[in-house]
């Protein structure tokens, strides 16, 4: 192949001035082959970049650049309508950190996140354990647990907003039926967090159970057999063998739900009609606070500071998850 391309060149050069009657088609053919080969080599060289570049160009413009530019906006006075003002240094950050609503939103976010993620992971593990048996109509069961996932968060919020109604709500009906006082779901801080967390739990538990199920199915079956021989019961097997064996998957689910959970917006935002997180902001989350600063107060500088702080908080949480799980791993190893 390589030898051919070097040999072609002189022939082609010689071919142009003279035109021998019989030789012409041949020379043309050789020339075309050489051209095609050069094209093909260029194709091989350049195509990969052409294939990946639409993604990278767009991703940098709509994904990475905005994130970086948020930092630039956050150190300026920047109005929604007025645009960029003076350089403000750390002023926006200072104002955010001095605002009691920031700390309120941070507390609410973490509280809702913990109330949603911990029960969710535990129930999903149990559910996956139930699904990881030789069920009849296995496919149907798996599909059924995924049903809530196709209901949009906005719709979930409206439905649960009604169920957790302060006056004529299904939840309070049940609470009263068992002899307790009705709960003010939209007023009491903890109650509102529970209601919002239940929306997240309802939508995501089945989804996460399927992820756990996939991991559980990769656990070799003979492990169970030897455990059964040792006299370990079903539940014992599940808690002390299955769950530890799928630890990486649990970590994966915890980290992804951390990233999503700390940005929770639609559920608390639509829990009441005002969209500010309750009369005393009992359930205003950080993303809601960001939205309020940016599009109500119209201070994009401060809103950007919140975005960066939230970014940092997410990273810290993800790292803590990693460390805790690694520590748990080494402890188990020592045992």
């Amino acid at each position: 192949m390589k030898a051919g391309s070097t040999a072609v060149k002189p022939v082609g050069d010689a071919g142009s001035p003279v035109s021998p009657t019989g030789g012409r088609p041949d020379i043309e053919g050789v020339r075309r082959a050489a051209w095609r080969q050069r094209l093909s080599r260029l194709d091989t060289l350049v195509s990969p970049y052409v294939f990946v570049s639409p993604f990278f160009l767009l991703f940098v413009v709509v994904g990475m650049f905005p994130l970086a530019y948020t930092a630039w906006v956050s150190v300026h006075d920047w109005g929604l309508l007025a645009g960029r003002g003076d350089f403000a240094g750390a002023d926006n950050y200072r104002r955010v950190l001095e605002d009691r609503y920031f700390w309120n939103a941070l507390r609410n976010t973490i509280s809702i996140f913990l109330l949603s993620s911990i029960p969710q992971v535990l129930i999903a593990l149990g559910l996956a354990g139930l699904l990881d048996t030789q069920l009849r109509a296995r496919g149907l069961w798996r599909m059924s647990v995924l049903l809530p996932f196709v209901v949009a968060p906005a719709a979930v919020a409206l439905i649960f907003g009604n169920v957790f109604g302060d006056r004529y709500g299904l939840a309070n009906e049940v609470v009263q039926a068992i002899g307790l006082d009705p709960i003010r779901w939209h007023v009491d801080t903890l109650a509102s967090h529970l209601a919002i967390a239940s929306m997240v739990n309802w939508r995501w538990t089945g989804y996460n159970a399927l992820i756990f199920l996939a991991a559980m199915q990769a656990v070799p079956r003979d492990v169970y057999e030897s455990a059964a021989l040792d006299g370990a019961g079903r539940i014992r097997q599940f808690v002390s063998m299955t769950v530890p064996m799928i630890r990486p998957t649990v970590l994966f689910v915890v980290i992804t739900s951390t990233i999503g959970g700390l940005q929770i917006f639609a559920e608390p935002r639509l829990f009441d009609t005002q969209g500010l997180g309750g009369s005393d902001r009992q359930y205003q989350t950080l993303t809601m606070y960001l939205w309020e600063l940016g599009w109500r107060v119209r201070d994009l500088g401060m809103a950007s500071a919140v975005a960066w702080l939230l970014f940092l908080i997410i990273i810290i949480f993800a790292l803590v998850n990693l460390l805790v799980s690694r520590r748990a791993g080494t402890l188990r190893g020592q045992r």
Binding site: G63, V145, R269, L270
Partner: protein, 272 residues
């Protein structure tokens, strides 16, 4: 192996599935009763006969059909675009040798966990400069690629396309793009279908960004739902009738493709 489940397992699963369905039934139930019933008490557990009236009122209260059309256009375009660009880039990462492949791939994986949603403020500033605030372009353009999509397709194509097949196509004189089109695309179809579904769903259910850039007159379904509930007094018969109708498109999609969704989640879990 004695892992045949007993009544307890079936009972617990049934309870869970009932819990999964209950809120949807509740939504339909409330939407099917008249406003008068709901102002007095919790409705009876048997549906009333006002569902269509309530839904009709919901369609009048907000531009519901327009919202449905907008959501279809936005989510359909985004899903198709993500699948195309992801397959293209995923193919290059999985199967083609080029300088800088490894660092670019590392960059890609590193960005998987970055919450790009936090870039909304500059994105809004740019959209305002372009004059796109209020139009569907503001939703479509930022959603056209995802790092996850590229990674997902790369992982799939790594095993799905044998290298010999690519070499053979090249020897036969196929250009790179034709090789991609004739060899990689057919092989990628199962994964592409799953990626399309999940991208469509994510875009359809998105609330935060549409709320920022779309006006009340040109909403997506989620924004229309939000408008149903504005004001101090909430008429739940109207709100939940609208919510029920708004949930139907994804329910239909779920009934048609639920199996693929389950397979997609379980595959992603094993590979990711």
């Amino acid at each position: 192996m004695n892992r045949r489940p007993g009544f307890l397992v079936y009972g617990l699963l049934t309870a869970f599935v009932l819990g999964s369905c209950a809120p949807l039934y509740w939504s339909f139930l409330v939407g099917s009763h008249s406003r008068d019933v709901l102002t007095k008490r919790v409705p009876p557990l048997i549906p009333g006969g006002h569902f269509w009236d309530n839904a009709q009122r919901a369609f009048e209260a907000v531009p519901f059909w327009k919202a449905l059309g907008n959501s279809l256009i936005v989510s359909g375009t985004i899903a198709t675009s993500v699948v195309f660009f992801s397959t293209l880039a995923g193919f290059a990462f999985a199967k083609l040798a080029f300088k800088g492949r490894t660092p670019l791939l590392v960059f890609l994986v590193a960005t998987l966990a970055v919450p790009t949603q936090l870039g909304v403020i500059p994105l809004f500033i740019v959209m305002a400069k372009l004059g796109w605030v209020g139009s569907l372009w503001a939703l479509i353009v930022p959603g056209m690629v995802t790092a996850f999509g590229v990674f997902f397709m790369r992982q799939y194509l790594l095993d799905a396309v044998p290298d010999e097949l690519i070499d053979a196509a090249r020897v036969d004189g196929c250009s790179m793009f034709r090789t991609f089109w004739n060899v990689a695309v057919p092989a990628a179809r199962p994964a592409a279908g799953i990626l399309w579904l999940f991208t469509f769903m994510a875009s359809w259910t998105d609330f935060f960004w549409p709320l920022i850039v779309l006006p009340a007159s040109n909403p997506t379904v989620q924004i229309a739902l939000q408008q149903l509930q504005s004001g101090y007094y909430v008429d739940y018969s109207l709100v939940l009738a609208g919510t029920t109708v708004a949930t139907i498109p994804l329910l239909v999609l779920f009934i048609l493709t639920g199996r693929q969704m389950v397979a997609g989640i379980m595959q992603g879990a094993v590979k990711g």
